[in-house]
């Protein structure tokens, strides 16, 4: 039993963090909002070049042959850098959709739309493919160009543009039958949980930095327990959530017992931890945190938006509760 990163896994995280620090700094983050679908194609290719999307593909298919643990380690770094784009869907599409593994295409995902109900799709302008995952059915590929949709002027996260899809989804090509939709839905949730842990970690780091330098009443505000304790709470919640995400990933890799419960719990706990961490980050920055200028709101909004991609935390809770007291 060893629930800690191996030296190779640590090195992978370090290398990716360094690469993202160079390729996707605060400037790039700001300018990405102006790109179609907020997708930086150069960055997308660079991520593919770093082996991000093909990480889990077997080596015989040109991938790195790594597991879910490495995937969540990588996605935590992508979250930490607040990289925008349909990361999880493109990652999951590697091997299913031509060019996804190489970063030549951007693949988005959504759930089935209820008949007669409008729905939202993220990053639509940048998508080459849209996968529709039916949690109780199959995985279908659509041509995004065939969607009748209009952009919404004020998306929650400026780096996650959304379109309102009007009318029913066009028919597409079934990539895989049941339970592929559900599998896709849940695996995407694990990657979202890892992104949220990274976003939360970046937010806490930023807030701690501010608390160490901002002086009020003649002392740095981080010396006040009222501030210090909030930051400690956020840090602890993230450490616990990170452990849950790692454990869920390792359970999948090892085909161990309790995979559904581990994944549902990780989804739920990471969502809560990221919420606490990113909201605390805004709060600790005071008035500055409430402005558009500071990145604090980007962490918060992305973390919030990720709750509603793939298997959402409330559905994970429903799945978890059904098994309680039955074992």
């Amino acid at each position: 039993m060893d629930l800690e990163l191996s030296p190779e896994q640590e090195e992978m995280a370090r290398a990716l963090r360094q690469r993202l620090g160079q390729a996707f700094g605060p400037e790039a983050r700001r300018s990405a909002a102006g790109l179609p679908g907020a997708l930086d194609r150069g960055l997308w290719a660079a991520l593919a070049d770093a082996g991000t999307f093909c990480l889990r593909l077997p080596e015989s298919e040109g991938g790195a042959g790594l597991g879910w643990v490495e995937a969540v380690v990588a996605f935590e770094e992508l979250g930490r850098a607040a990289v925008p784009g349909p990361l999880a869907a493109t990652f999951l599409a590697a091997g299913l959709v031509e060019g996804a593994d190489a970063g030549r295409v951007a693949v988005g995902a959504c759930g089935p739309l209820a008949p007669g109900q409008p729905g939202l799709v993220e990053h639509l302008e940048a998508l080459d493919h849209l996968l529709v995952a039916d949690p109780s059915g199959s995985l279908v590929r659509l041509d995004p160009a065939r969607l009748s949709a209009r952009p919404l002027p004020r998306p929650l996260d400026p780096l996650t543009p959304v379109h309102l899809v009007e009318g029913p989804l066009p028919s597409g090509e079934e990539l895989a039958g049941p339970p592929a939709g559900e599998t896709f839905w849940r695996q995407g949730a694990l990657l979202c949980a890892a992104l949220q842990v990274g976003l939360g970690a970046a937010a806490v780091e930023m807030a701690v930095g501010h608390a160490k330098s901002r002086v009020q009443f003649g002392r740095v505000i981080g010396s006040f327990q009222a501030v210090k304790h909030q930051l400690a709470e956020a840090w602890v919640a993230l450490e616990v959530a990170r452990s849950a995400v790692w454990a869920a990933a390792a359970t999948l890799d090892e085909d161990g017992p309790g995979q559904d419960r581990a994944l549902a719990g990780a989804r739920l706990v990471a969502s809560r931890a990221a919420r606490v961490a990113t909201r605390t980050c805004v709060h600790v920055h005071g008035g500055l945190g409430y402005t558009w200028e500071l990145d604090a709101h980007l962490y918060l909004k992305r973390a919030q938006a990720l709750d509603w991609q793939f298997w959402p935390p409330h559905a994970a809770a429903d799945a978890l509760e059904a098994g309680l007291g039955r074992a």
Partner: protein
């Protein structure tokens, strides 16, 4: 990273399982909660059985009579004993988890030879004389004074929250030996035999109605200088060793018990009538239980991560503080769900409606102690904020906590 056990770890687990299966049916029924001499006898004879089977002091070095095992084996031991409903560590808590490890880390060879075997074999029960009425979270302000007279320290003062003092043979005692020095630098760690003249023990009744805690009044108690662990005035550093143990794996059995309790509450919810159906029909109850279950599962992952870090020789003191803080919060949420769920079934302790499982009323009250004992949640937040995040101390506040 690997969640599964190694072949050696599996062998250890299987051997332990077989031993538990053979041994547990031979145990007498546990004694009543308020019969302390009987509880001492029960707990120490369990410790003796563990010793004889090679399961005492799993991570203690072999040279000190331990098994020389890994932190993971200790975790497996805690998991398997909880699963099999084996006795808890009970009265042996301070000896096996505080005093013993402290003596291994900081005791002299003579002290180790004198005391470690008695702890492992269940011959000696230890208690902890750290807190005082005026020195709680600010432990370093303790005032129980020890004056050197020839080859003895003469100790007078007032200790509180001294677990198991009335059935203990020895006390790990913190005393002030230099009243002039800064608070942390005038403290000494002593081994006090509990049969020394001048010790008066008075039980404290906790809000549970019973309790393991005591007050201890010391009046001119003579403790040989040979019983000093570490140097004079270096007791704070020695005590810090103990704290990191205390917050390390001390809560593993509890955490596993709490995970089991969530399942019990879900079963109780399906049985408790509410309107035309059961309490389980209430989506809020189900959702809250799921959230608590997820938090406790995550804490189990966090525990295994901390144990993995310990196996690599990495520092786990911060992880221990983080764990205790988060565990208390999860238990508070569970207590709230349980209270709302039980309704009138919670008007008496002892499971009056026969719902089965733990006494959730008592557990809910006990949960309060988790935010107070072994460093309050506020102290843990200071530790995380200051040592983990590098935030400065409150100006004017003496460092503290532990």
């Amino acid at each position: 990273m690997r969640l599964a056990l190694t072949p050696e770890e599996r062998r250890f687990r299987d051997g332990l399982r077989a031993w538990l299966e053979a041994t547990l049916p031979t145990l007498p029924p546990p004694p009543p909660a308020d019969d302390w001499p009987a509880r001492r006898a029960y707990d120490t004879s369990w410790q003796r059985l563990l010793y004889e089977a090679g399961y005492a002091g799993i991570t203690w070095p072999r040279q000190h009579g331990g098994r020389g095992g890994t932190p993971t084996e200790e975790l497996i031991f805690l998991e398997e004993t909880e699963r099999a409903a084996a006795p808890y560590v009970g009265c042996n808590f301070v000896g096996t988890l505080h005093a013993g490890p402290t003596l291994i880390a900081a005791g002299s060879p003579e002290q180790q030879a004198r005391h470690l075997p008695g702890i492992l074999k269940g011959e000696h029960v230890w208690c902890q004389g750290f807190s005082e009425p005026e020195a709680g979270s600010d432990l370093a302000s303790l005032r129980t004074k020890a004056v050197l007279e020839d080859d003895h320290y003469v100790v007078s003062g007032h200790k509180i929250w001294t677990s198991h003092a009335h059935v203990a043979d020895f006390c790990e005692l913190l005393v002030r030996t230099d009243p002039e020095a800064p608070a942390h630098r005038g403290i000494t760690w002593l081994i006090m035999p509990m049969d020394s003249p001048g010790i008066e023990v008075r039980p404290i009744r906790t809000l549970l109605g019973v309790g393991e805690f005591n007050e201890m009044f010391l009046d001119g108690v003579r403790v040989p200088v040979a019983n000093r662990v570490g140097a004079e005035n270096d007791g704070w550093r020695v005590a810090m060793v103990t704290f990191s143990f205390e917050r390390g794996t001390a809560f593993v059995s509890e955490l596993l018990g709490a995970r089991r309790m969530v399942g019990e509450l879900a079963r109780a919810a399906r049985r408790l009538p509410r309107g035309p159906g059961s309490a389980w029909d209430d989506a809020a109850v189900r959702r809250q239980l799921a959230e608590v279950a997820a938090e406790l599962d995550a804490l189990w992952a966090f525990t295994r991560r901390n144990v993995s870090r310990a196996s690599r020789g990495l520092d786990v003191a911060l992880g221990g503080s983080a764990f205790k803080l988060a565990y208390h919060q999860a238990r508070e949420r569970m207590a709230a769900v349980a209270t709302d769920l039980l309704g009138r079934a919670g008007l008496a302790m002892g499971d009056p409606l026969g719902l089965g499982g733990a006494d959730h009323v008592e557990e809910g009250l006990y949960t309060l102690s988790l935010g107070i004992a072994a460093g309050t949640s506020e102290i843990q937040r200071n530790i995380v904020g200051e040592r983990g995040l590098g935030l400065p101390k409150e100006p004017g506040a003496r460092g503290g906590g532990g």
